[in-house]
């Protein structure tokens, strides 16, 4: 029994990272009807940005000035903001020009953009093809509870995810910009006629999505103490899959989709004999199953095509 609980915790934490990435996909799809295929890479960029800033701070000798509990959060905050701005910049440069072009263009362009981001990260680190060590920023202590090992860093990751998701919901429900985002995602043209600045709203959406993604990347790095340039490819595909399973465009769907994928992968690895190398296969089969039998996902509405 304890083992199943332990595996549930593993699944939950994996699901948290997928959810945070998937929220980005849902936000973008809601706002622009666009899938930003390089979003996974932007997320992992968040972790690398932290490494870069850390390296810079060390170079400038700032580490010694500030105590760790001030310095680390500050660093992470800066990395988040920077990654958010980069995400917004990508929207401006690579996605906006294709707003009225065939869908294929933005699709291929964002896949290629992801490649550019990955390779740039790889080339800008010494031995960039190898994983980079991510500093152990979370406490490493743990305690036993009814035979289940609970680690403090897991609790922090879980808590952060819940906190961020609730903050985002509050932001979308309660603020003016949030209302604008909802309006744009429901009907872009009507929203424009109501005097909502579409470009600005879209930019804010990308900012929020990318910041959340950056946090996902940093949490992934802190969880495994390691970060590799090409994690964004799989991370993006999985995040997008989670969004699709939950219902693309529905922000709540991201949570359900992320958890489902986390559960499938963890339990496939743990309980199917010889299943460990096939975890990704199982995850993708679930996704393909959904695409064939319920393409709109669990919470998504059926979309009717209009002429």
């Amino acid at each position: 029994m304890a083992e199943i609980f332990q595996q549930l915790i593993n699944a939950l934490l994996l699901g948290c990272t997928y959810t945070l990435i998937a929220i980005g996909f849902n936000l973008f799809f809601g706002a622009l009807n666009v899938v930003h295929f390089s979003h996974g890479d932007v997320c992992i960029l968040g972790a690398f940005m932290t490494l870069i800033l850390y390296g810079l701070a060390k170079l400038l000798g700032l580490v010694t000035f500030l105590p760790g509990y001030v310095f680390v959060p500050l660093l992470i905050l800066m990395a988040m903001v920077l990654t958010g701005l980069i995400g917004t910049f990508f929207e401006r440069v690579v996605i906006r020009p294709f707003r009225y072009a065939p869908l294929l263009m933005v699709l291929v362009a964002t896949v290629a953009l992801g490649m550019v981001v990955r390779e740039t990260v790889r080339l800008s680190f010494p031995h960039g093809s190898n994983p980079q060590i991510f500093p152990r920023i979370l406490p490493q202590t743990s305690f036993q509870w009814e035979g289940v090992l609970i680690r403090l860093d897991s609790l922090i990751i879980f808590g952060t995810t819940i906190f961020l998701i609730s903050m985002m919901f509050l932001f979308i429900k309660r603020t003016r910009i949030g209302a604008a985002i909802r309006a744009v995602s429901q009907d872009t043209e009507a929203a424009a006629m109501m005097g909502i600045n579409i470009d600005r709203t879209v930019a804010v959406t990308f900012l929020i999505g990318s910041v959340l993604g950056a946090i996902a990347g940093i949490l992934i790095g802190a969880y495994n103490n390691i970060i590799r340039f090409d994690m964004g490819l799989m991370g993006g595909v999985k995040g997008f899959s989670a969004a699709v399973v939950g219902g693309l465009g529905n922000v709540y769907g991201a949570i359900i989709g992320g958890l489902i994928l986390g559960l499938v992968e963890t339990f496939a690895a743990a309980f199917i004999p010889g299943g460990t190398p096939y975890t990704d296969v199982f995850a993708f089969l679930v996704v393909i199953f959904f695409l064939i039998f319920k393409p709109s996902g669990i919470l998504g509405e059926k979309v009717y095509e209009k002429v």
Binding site: A101, V111, M115, V116
Partner: protein, 382 residues
């Protein structure tokens, strides 16, 4: 009239031969500096050709008037290539690889170019073809020629399977399915024990024709050509065949239907086009081409492992199609040739290869989405 035509034909062939020698010289260059000099020269040539209208019109007029002579001359020159590269199996190898990728790119073009269906699973059909024929050859001693058909057909069946989700989904969802499919095939090839797992399949027998094994050097007109020449001529035929099929398809109702789906899917559906069927058809044909290329590759190298069929291969083929010009069969082939030769010429910059692919795609889509060689409008004569 006749002497004039002969005169023009001679001029035409001279121009072709000149460019061919330039190309051969370029292939033989090895130093980065000289390669760059060549490239600058080619770009300058392109610009001059574009600016100098009279020359352009004369030349294109010449080519149009003597289409058969031009084509025959071109084919004849390509056939002499192994003689020119006789001392260097490496150069012939590059040509063979360029041909393989040309087939892959031609296949993908039916989807990405003609129908605007994004397929990131080219590597999967390439791999399925390669593994199918290799396994048959190694375990059951099935000949390469049969394996070519089986590999293509099996890949085609998987293409059909891959096409099924497109009954319900499209666009982003469909490309997610193709990415997932490509990754699944890679993972499975890597983990099944009967595919040799990560160790791959060694000792794949070379094809033989009329008792001549393709592993043996080719003796032609008293010349001893390296064994790669066998494959060069094979690939030459296959690319020619693919080109013919692609060209005919493009000008048939099927090609027209694909274009209709590309322009507006709903409108196409309203005109009674069975969109799903035509999309699945595109998947199948693409996969067949991929399977054929894979079969040739596996028998040519004699050893395959899953790394040959990773996601990056699909991205490379997508890049070739976009660079060459979507829906333009000749453009696509040039894209494939360019992106096979140039990385070999810039081996010193191997590290930047993938980055450059990414940049090529993004910039092409932004500034020249029609590719280097755009497809011309369809013109129908009365």
């Amino acid at each position: 009239m006749l002497p004039r035509t002969i005169g023009r034909a001679v001029i035409l062939l001279a121009v072709e031969a000149f460019f061919f020698i330039l190309f051969a010289a370029f292939m033989k260059t090895d130093e980065t500096g000289k390669v760059i000099a060549f490239l600058l020269f080619f770009i300058g040539l392109g610009v001059m050709f574009k600016k100098w209208e009279k020359a352009r019109l004369t030349l294109t007029g010449l080519f149009k008037e003597l289409k058969i002579v031009a084509g025959a001359g071109f084919v004849a020159m390509l056939l002499t290539l192994p003689f020119i590269f006789q001392a260097s199996p490496y150069l012939i190898h590059i040509c063979v690889m360029a041909g393989l990728f040309a087939i892959l790119a031609l296949g993908l073009n039916f989807q990405l170019g003609s129908t605007n269906v994004v397929n990131f699973a080219t590597a999967a059909s390439y791999g399925i073809g390669a593994y199918a024929s290799a396994l048959l050859a190694v375990h059951f001693h099935i000949s390469f020629w049969l394996g070519l058909l089986v590999g293509g057909s099996l890949a085609s069946i998987f293409g059909l399977l891959l096409g099924i989700p497109c009954m319900k989904t499209k666009d982003y969802y469909l490309s997610l399915v193709t990415i997932a499919f490509g990754l699944i095939v890679y993972i499975l090839l890597n983990n099944f024990s009967w595919t040799g797992g990560p160790n791959g399949i060694p000792n794949i027998p070379p094809p033989s024709l009329f008792g001549h094994s393709f592993k043996e050097p080719l003796s032609l007109f008293g010349y001893q050509l390296p064994f790669q020449s066998n494959y060069y001529y094979l690939i030459f035929l296959l690319v020619g065949g693919s080109l013919f099929v692609a060209h005919r398809l493009h000008h048939s109702r099927v090609g027209l239907t694909w274009n209709a789906i590309r322009e507006d899917e709903i409108a196409a559906r309203c005109h009674g086009i069975d969109v799903t069927w035509y999309k699945i058809l595109a998947f199948c044909i693409d996969a067949f081409f991929g399977g054929v290329a894979g079969t040739v590759y596996s028998h040519y190298i004699g050893f395959i492992s899953p790394e040959n069929f990773a996601f990056i291969v699909s991205v490379v083929v997508v890049t070739m199609v976009i660079l060459g010009g979507m829906d333009n069969v000749f453009g696509v082939i040039i894209g494939a040739i360019l992106l096979t030769i140039l990385p070999e010429k810039f081996r010193a910059f191997e590290d930047f290869r993938v980055l450059i692919y990414g940049l090529i795609v993004v910039t092409m889509l932004m500034f020249r989405p029609q590719g280097l060689f755009p497809q011309k409008m369809r013109i129908y004569k009365k």
